[in-house]
């Protein structure tokens, strides 16, 4: 077997072996982590993401609502009579 072939074979053996071992450990760690989380901290309020909404989004919405309310207000007052 040529040198290149033997290198390729051992790269395959080591590589696939390592990929499988690594991902198998990941399966284990993930499963364990999920169990612990769902046992000790089940479904916490999604407080974190609510607490720090993206600034731009907020201000855009604010502008939007401002323009919108103004428009609706005007429409209302036009139709009042």
């Amino acid at each position: 077997m040529s040198d290149l072939m033997s290198e390729a074979v051992s790269l395959m053996a080591v590589g696939m072996g390592f990929v499988f071992v690594f991902l198998a450990i990941l399966v284990g760690v993930t499963t364990l982590m999920s169990k612990l989380v769902n046992k000790y901290a089940p479904a916490p309020e999604p407080k974190v993401s609510a607490a720090a909404p993206q600034m731009n989004a907020t201000s855009n919405d604010a502008q939007l609502l401002a323009v919108l309310s103004a428009a609706v207000e005007k429409y209302r007052s036009d139709h009042k009579k």
């Binding site: 395959m12 990929v19 991902l23 990941l26 974190v48 600034m55």
Partner: protein, 441 residues
């Protein structure tokens, strides 16, 4: 008068080579595929355009200053260059093709100090790095480009489906056979005398089977930069061809019954699980494979920024402005490696063939792994989601879904396939780390 002559002898028409014409046509074809056929246009538009630029005669956009100086070979510059590069040269001497080749070879194999000195000589003579050469060295040479793409991809990835059913990670592992099988294939072709690849080149080609653009570019830039153009083009083209390449293999390896297996609905996933997952991956990388740390580190950082919910500004930028800017430059940099001399080579043909083999093998081993898992487990997996383990996110998962629907119009596999799909990204980054450790260390 002399100046007009100068304009003419310096024009593209006068200097263009057949190879450059061919490559420009090839690159226009890439643009056609990207724009009209929707082949991964975000990358292939800048790659194709960069390829055209790299093949403009006399512009030297993909050459360094020293390479440009050698290309124009003024006698006095060559004399200074000869001294630096230690090439035998007399100022009066006629400059033949062989002389130029000797200079180019000496430059390619020079050590870093010499390269710097050659750059100084060229700069003193008024030559500068071509635009694309600068982009390449900043974006790919430094490896920062692929890493930032990975940061953005991480910030766009949802590990929810994977967390809901972690054992599908193993499908993402199995599909990496495509990578290493292809390395073996390249070695076989070399042994058979059909091609001539080193183990570095074989490994860089194999990574096409990872079906991940930035991983391919990262590995190729480390192990075989001269093949980077062909490898990146093959990787992105085959990723675009996933809907054509995968279904026949998936159908061939499964029975109609297997394809109709219904999977149980995924459980909802807790926010905290999603936050802890990238950290867990990072720690495993730190413990087991430091060489995968740059790629998976940036990937996990992007994902953590997305999931933690307190740095949405950063996550947003990583997914938009930053990744877009890097994509433009990365594409142009890859294009710079589509020069005629590098691309129009028998090796490119080998890369194109082996790349397709890599996709096929990865698809097949993913499907077979699912069947194997069904032997040992009571909760059956539809083997069609195994093919998604090659990554090519999210195209491969969509293909699983589509083939599933073809067999049972009520069986939606998309979310089930997303698990192995993103696991495949991690899997090929791990494979990349192993290869770099094994060959680079």
């Amino acid at each position: 008068m002399e100046n007009i002559l100068n304009l003419w002898t310096g024009s593209g028409f006068y200097n263009i080579t057949g190879g450059q014409v061919t490559m420009i046509v090839v690159c226009l074809f890439l643009l056609y595929l990207a724009i009209r056929k929707g082949f991964e246009p975000l990358l292939l538009v800048p790659i194709g355009f960069g390829g055209v630029l790299a093949n403009i005669p006399e512009a030297g956009l993909a050459l360094t200053a020293a390479e440009n100086a050698i290309h124009f070979h003024k006698p006095e510059v060559m004399a200074a260059m000869a001294e630096v590069l230690k090439v035998p040269f007399d100022v009066g001497q006629e400059i033949t093709k062989e002389t130029l080749a000797a200079f180019k070879d000496a430059y390619k194999t020079a050590d870093h100090s010499t390269v710097y000195q050659a750059a100084h000589v060229a700069a003193d003579a008024g030559y500068a790095n071509g635009m694309l050469a600068n982009f390449y060295s900043v974006i790919i040479g430094s490896t920062v480009g692929p890493l930032l793409i990975f940061l953005g991809v991480g910030a766009m990835t949802d590990f929810g489906p994977l967390l809901a059913n972690p054992k599908t990670i193993l499908l993402g592992a199995a599909a990496q056979f495509g990578i290493f099988g292809t390395v073996l294939g390249a070695a076989l072709m070399t042994s058979a005398g059909i091609m001539d690849f080193t183990i570095y080149e074989a490994a860089a080609i194999g990574i096409i089977g990872g079906a991940d653009g930035p991983t391919s570019i990262y590995v190729a830039s480390v192990l075989a930069p001269h093949l980077l153009g062909a490898i990146a083009v093959a990787a992105y083209s085959y990723m675009a061809l996933v809907p054509v390449l995968q279904p026949p293999i998936m159908n061939a390896l499964t029975t109609a019954e297997e394809r109709k297996i219904k999977m149980v609905q995924l459980r909802p996933v807790n926010q905290l699980e999603k936050i802890l997952f990238p950290i867990a991956v990072l720690i495993l990388v730190a413990l087991f494979l430091p060489d995968a740390a740059p790629l998976l580190g940036m990937f996990c950082l992007g994902n953590l920024m997305k999931e933690c919910g307190v740095v949405d500004r950063l996550s947003d930028t990583a997914q938009n402005a930053l990744i877009n800017v890097v994509t433009i430059f990365l594409g142009l940099s890859v294009g710079s490696k589509l020069g005629a001399d590098k691309f129009l080579d028998l090796q490119t043909l080998g890369i194109l063939i082996l790349g397709m083999v890599a996709f096929g093998v990865g698809t097949g081993t993913g499907v077979l792994m699912a069947k194997l898992m069904n032997v040992f487990s009571t909760q059956k997996i539809n083997p069609l989601i195994g093919s998604a383990g090659v990554s090519a996110v999210p195209m491969a998962a969509r293909v699983s879904n589509k083939v599933g629907l073809d067999n049972n119009s009520q069986n939606f596999l998309l979310m089930h396939a997303m698990g192995p799909n993103v696991a495949g990204v991690i899997g090929s980054a791990v494979a990349a780390g192993v290869m770099i450790k094994f060959l680079g260390g």
